[in-house]
Amino acid sequence: MIYLDAAATTPVRREVLEAMWPYLTGEFGNPSSHHETGERAAAALRAARADVAATLGCRPSEVIFTSGGTEADNLAVQGIALARAARDPRRRRVVISAVEHAAVTASAEFLARVLGFTVSRVPVDSQGRVDPAELSGLLDDDVALCSVMYANNEIGTVQAVAELAAAARASDVPFHTDAVQAAGWLPLDVAALGVDAMSLSGHKLGAPKGTGVLYVRSRTPLEPLIHGGGQERGARSGTENVAGAVGFAAALRLAEAARPVQAARVAALRSRFIDRVLAEVPGSLLTGAPEERLPSVASFCFPGTSGESVLLELERAGVTCSSGSACAAGSDEPSEVLLATGLDRETAQTAVRFSFPAAVAEEELEEAAERVRQAVAAVRALRAPA
């Protein structure tokens, strides 16, 4: 099986499992306990936090461990918006892009539906990009938070995060970015990016599911989402998942060390894969940006098919991929992201996303491209009138 659905999830790396192992077994303490077993767990957690901070170029106290990317996004969007609004009651609006992950979109909708906020959506162009000038136009002194993802999970488009963050700063609006898909492929230095908050997920990086991080710049106000024992400096209560944090830190460190080489290598393979598919599958079109895109994502629409039937055909042929977000898998609705880029509903329902693991081999992609050609042809033949 050729696994080309790394944007949905990646296997846990062996080195990560080895790093976690002591904390799954003998070193089982609760970091809040003040005896020796607890102190050892607390020390491991401190080391993991420092490790993550070193990669992000921030202070350890700015790293909040969460249960994953979804919680990190929820904490950032709800937590910053609520805290900012509490300090300045005029600020009751959040601005998000039209192509955010559901974790951000649904958090913003919750703020609107239950907590009395309004939501503005900054549109994207046909390649899925947000224009910094257009974003600036939506920012005013009534905005509590702006959130634009670093790289899109469905079409791989990379946003000009530094410019967007600068636009937000100019309006004194806290800026959050969902970097769940960017991690491991794009630079994560929070100072260079200029972001106030950034979400990361472990299981996209070779750490286990159920681990994530929210970076929050030290002076950014944040209202907690999960209350209780006051762990994570009060920002996120709940017994700390020490093994998970250690695994996350190891995975991030490994991914970051390999990134410069892997990103260039996989980007070249991706471009070749895209060229082949566009050349060999009649009528195929690339979704997202040709240039500003993740090294790991190739996404297409194949008019005259349905995305689901192409997926089934490819799975039979030994290629695992998806129509887009795993969270939306099985839904009959066309992707909001593709509609936002201006595609019609019918075309949007023919979407197929290939997302590559860091270790993907050239031969695998050559093989996959050929099978894509065959699969699309087979589906079209079935749908054509006899």
Binding site: D5, A8, T9, V12, L17, L24, T25, F28, G29, N30, S32, S33, H34, H35, E36, T37, G38, S67, G68, G69, T70, E71, N74, H101, A102, A103, A106, S107, F110, V114, S201, H203, P208, K209, G210, T211, E223, P224, L225, I226, H227, G228, G229, G230, Q231, G234, S237, G238, T239, N241, A243, L311, E315, C321, S322, S325, A326, C327, A328, A329
Partner: protein, 403 residues
């Protein structure tokens, strides 16, 4: 000092069980997002659904009533916030939350947050000297104005003093007025018989790492017809009540631990009660002035909680730790400032009386030798803690967390 410390803090966290570790490592070596439609996704989905069935069976619930979360704290937050918002949205008059005075901070702080930010009004239900919630007070509040109550939340068993609450009676009283009830069963589940269906509860929180599962996984058991506003929004997993990629390895391990705990509950309960009674008797002989707190019989099998007059709990914890015995003062400290336990204060203790608290909790790895080690170390540790005294001296140690 023994090489391996004697661990008497199983209520804080307990080592992972062999069954759970096996399930965890098996699933950590496999890939797949349970929301994906392809082969590896479907396989991961089956793992999650098998685990859901196993956990449901262990908790006396239907599989569709299991909402996986990141732990007991998230479950408590989801239940309290979610029920409050859903009930208030359906009827704006319903802003009161009836809550026992001895809840875990995950419930307590969530209720206080709703008070501060969302216009909720907390009604603290008192407890007696043994830590049992007053059914009369509950009844009086229900009769005084049931139409303004959003929910009732009372823990199944207290994490500090171990008192088991009359959950069935609480549910019966609240349901007579149509009020939903949540219970934090984090300490009770796996330790005493907990049957969600038989209890009549609308929502119940459980946690993995208290029963031999991994940290970072828990569940909210939620009646099928109960409406709840989510806390974590996104991909719409878990009946759209809790979004986020399902952590198949942790879920499988949690279910394995729950199955294991349920299968051996009666014998393990007897074993722990015998050990615990030996511990209590031994402490009373060694330190006659120590007072057992909580209910004498209706308490968690592994829980022994004492106040030791004339010393700081922190000092005693520190000195016992030096002697290789690990315990807890039993009171959570969020701000880094030691303060007496809200549970003990609610039970009527004075601040001074509450300060000498020490909690010893037994679990699946506990042995007679652990108890003997404590009893051997205690007299000297207590004597030194008393010498260190109480008043005015700044404690070197913060109070330990209870979760």
């Amino acid at each position: 000092m023994p090489i391996e410390p004697v661990y008497l803090d199983h209520a804080a966290t307990t080592p992972i069980s062999p069954a759970a570790l096996a399930a965890m490592t098996r699933e950590l070596s496999r890939n797949g997002n349970p929301s994906s439609l392809h082969g590896s996704g479907r396989r991961a989905r089956r793992v999650v659904e098998d685990a859901r069935e196993a956990l449901a069976a262990a908790a006396g619930a239907h599989p569709s009533e299991v909402i996986f979360t990141s732990g007991g704290t998230e479950s408590d937050n989801l239940a309290v916030k979610g029920l409050f918002w859903a009930r208030r949205d359906a009827d704006p008059r319903r802003t009161r939350i009836l809550c026992s005075a001895i809840e875990h901070h995950a419930v307590l702080d969530t209720v206080e947050w709703l008070e501060k930010h969302e216009g909720a009004e907390a009604v603290w239900l008192p407890v007696d000297a043994e830590g049992t919630v007053s059914l009369e007070a509950l009844q009086a509040e229900l009769e005084a104005g049931a139409e303004t109550i959003a929910l009732v939340t009372v823990m199944w068993a207290n994490n500090e003093v171990g008192t088991v609450q009359p959950v069935a009676e609480i549910v019966q009283a609240a349901h007579a007025h149509g009020i939903p009830v949540h219970s934090d069963a984090v300490q009770a589940f796996g330790a005493v018989p907990v049957d969600f269906a038989a209890s009549g509860l609308d929502a119940m929180s459980v946690s993995g790492h208290k029963i031999g599962g991994p940290v970072g996984i828990g569940a909210l058991l939620l009646g099928r017809s109960v409406r709840l506003t989510p806390v974590l929004h996104g991909g719409g997993q878990e009946r759209d009540v809790r979004s986020g990629t399902l952590a198949a390895p942790a879920i499988a391990a949690f279910a394995a631990a729950a199955e294991d705990a349920a299968a051996h509950l009666a014998e393990e309960r007897n074993r722990l009660e015998t050990l615990r009674d030996r511990l209590v008797d031994g402490v009373r002989k060694a330190v006659p002035e120590a007072v057992l707190r909580g209910h004498p019989t209706r308490r968690l099998p592994g829980n022994a909680h004492f106040t030791f007059p004339g010393c700081e709990g922190d000092s005693l914890l520190f000195l016992l730790d030096l002697a290789g015995v690990e315990s807890s003062t039993g009171s959570a400290c969020t701000a880094g400032v030691p303060r007496p336990s809200h549970v003990l204060l609610a039970m009527g203790l004075s601040e001074a009386g509450a300060r000498g608290a020490q909690r010893f909790t037994l679990g699946h790895t506990s042995t007679e030798a652990d108890v003997e080690a404590l009893l051997a170390a205690l007299p000297n540790a207590y004597a030194r803690a008393k010498q260190a005294g109480m008043a005015g001296h700044a404690s070197r140690i913060q109070t330990a967390g209870t979760r």
